[in-house]
Symmetry: C3
Subunit: 306 residues, 3 copies
């Protein structure tokens, strides 16, 4: 593995190897330790979309491995001056950076930077367009595995919400397929379902309602509803959305009693998820966040070893 | 002490303990040293108001103790996306942060984050609304003590300027009372005086004029005049304000010859303070800034020890 | 040398000493090493103009020498609140910073901060107005010397483009003169040539055309064309500019076969320089960027030694 742009083409053995590495990095993930394998490496965070958690998570992952970190955000970068992104990347390479974490609204950007970078460099997508958010997919798999064990073929998983526009959903579905998930159900209003032939969701079934999707489920993966969907006319109102697709405690009772609930954050409480679920005993949402640092450490270390 | 939200409820012994700790940290405050008691801790600076000096001061304090630092500013945070501040805090906790430095225009925010955070976490107010700016209060006390000794009962202190809107004035008044200040005088135009029953200023007397407030004073604490006060009609003009309430060398001569002048910065030179005073021999304004790093180190270390 | 504000008044021996130091720092420039001579020092980057590469280059230079770094950018600084820049500098000094890297649109700013700072502090211009960008001049000289040797008297150098508004051109011309360049040619449309009596370009000749400037040249220094020049009516169109003043492979063939091409970045590809030149074998543009870190390390270390 030279870059991490998508989970689509990642062999099962590589994916499981990254999860194993992340699992063993869990103790090192939350506190600076003596383990500094990336000392002498420079990680550049190129975020062309605003982000709190993902940027912070990558920064901490890099620092806890001993790397130097450069943070760039869209409006402070000289892309304003008309320089190409490729030139920005090459300049940072010329200053010694070799690991590039890239978030961009256009899904082609990380791949085109990966194609343009020098031989010793690696690009990690931190979210590109609607297409892919591979480290989120990995951290979701790690979280599921910690609670449900390594045999994904016994699991029924539901992905619920704005699947059409979600890179998280695509990376999750790809990883779940790679790990041989038993059953993958999609639940969303008509307007937010993916195209029928979207290959990311091959093998998944579309549920008629949220209740149907939750019935007997082991893992419920909720998605954020962007408020733009209302302006675009894809959702009538937040109240109606919550009534039909929001995860309330009553609805969650339809799933298995030991079902777990994931959410990639940031949450719209009262829109896609009730407070009592978000903060309840079945929620693993904060474990996802902790696993995020460990997963990003595993990916950075794997790519830095080349 | 679990959090530092206000100086209001801080026992005298704790306050003096923090000043003693800060005093002994002075040599370590200005240069990175081998003293790294916060190694392995992560400090998150959550600034929802712009700030140069306070944010830099907390960042340096944390780094000089060996902590990792995450900086967040309002417009780069995902609060834009509608996430609650509590969720932001919990996410950062899940990434390993345990010390939260919070500045916000709403005075309830640091307290509500303190109520929501995990057991091992601490919140430090870096300025909330008009209510409180406890580390500024502490650094002002340290600065006074360095010049005037430990017996505050012998001191006459004047606070001058926009007291009504000032969290600095409230924290200073609380700390001065805790330390048993001899006399506290308030001097401001009618429109900028605090409410009569504001408990932060209990025991203080209101001077009729700046001259009266300065007469025989040991310590003069000047406040910044926000330019908004003119738009709000609370101040007629900057010229008039300087004429009536600005600290000129002539006016300062009314105080004791060894009186010291403090200002929390940023200064409006020529509005609330004359250049000759700001840069003169009685000014301790830059000592305040140096003490600020030491005080913040003392607070962070105290809270990290739990 | 106490500050680095311009290359104008820099003695040849000092300039060569900095180039030698930078050359020997090249291996340390691209990766964090055990060489940490600035440990205990704090570098403040005060950027009042947006910048990706220069700010990143100074940050990495400081960190690779072991310094602590504070980054300030215009809109997050309290200059918004009306504080003077001098007060900002003095506050940062009071927090322990002693090396100030300053970029500002007004060319007088770095010099006035240098005049105001404390005895142990140093100011480095990172670009001021149109006047000076001394570390860019140094890194350009280092890049030329690496390729062309130490005897500048044998070299013919052309500076091409928006010379009138370019601080890079001024610093380059000053350094080239100090190093005894053989011939310096300027090539630009009438509207972008410097004033006839601009002392920075004393001794240079003005070419009638780009072809004439390139003829037999050893070093071609291209400049960025700011898009504002079109709005200002100084350039008719980007197409016309490229036709008359853009460096195409055909034009570059007029120079010596071993001529090198420099550009300070960010490049406007297809405006002042063709892709085939920017990415071609004669381009040393990325070497300039790598040399930039080494040069800034040399300058910081030189000034920190006092």
């Amino acid at each position: 593995m030279r870059h991490l742009l998508s989970l689509d083409d990642l062999p099962q053995s590589t994916l499981i190897g990254l999860l194993d590495a992340a699992q063993s990095l869990r103790p090192a993930a939350l506190h600076r330790s003596a383990h500094r394998p990336l000392r002498g490496h420079t990680v550049a965070n190129l975020f062309f979309e605003p982000s709190t958690r993902t940027r912070a998570s990558f920064q901490l992952a890099a620092e806890r491995l001993g790397a130097d970190v450069l943070n760039f955000e869209a409006d402070s970068s000289s892309t304003r001056k008309g320089e190409t992104l490729t030139d920005t990347l090459r300049n940072l390479e010329a200053m010694g950076a070799s690991l590039f974490v890239v978030r961009h609204t256009h899904s082609s950007v990380p791949a085109s930077l990966a194609a343009a970078c020098a031989e010793g460099s690696s690009v990690i997508s931190a979210g590109d367009g609607r297409q892919s958010h591979p480290t989120q997919g990995l951290l979701d798999m790690l979280t599921i595995r910690q609670r449900k064990g390594e045999d994904f073929s016994r699991l029924t998983v539901a992905i619920v919400g704005d699947i059409r526009h979600s890179r998280v959903a695509r990376s999750d579905a790809q990883a779940l397929r790679t790990l041989g998930v038993g059953e993958l159900r999609l639940a969303a209003p008509e307007t937010l379902l993916p195209e029928r032939d979207d290959p990311s969701f091959a093998g998944a079934t579309v549920a008629d309602s949220l209740d149907q999707a939750l019935e007997g489920c082991d893992v419920v993966m909720m998605l954020r509803l962007q408020r733009e969907r209302m302006d675009e006319g894809l959702v009538a109102s937040l109240e109606e959305y919550y009534r039909d697709w929001g995860l309330s405690p009553e609805r969650l009772a339809l799933a298995r009693p030991d079902a777990i609930v994931l959410h990639p954050g940031p949450m719209n409480r009262g829109v896609e998820i009730a407070d009592a679920v978000a903060d309840g005993p079945q929620s693993v949402i904060l474990e996802q966040v902790s696993n995020g640092v460990a997963v990003r450490m595993a990916v950075l270390e794997h790519l830095a070893r080349g």
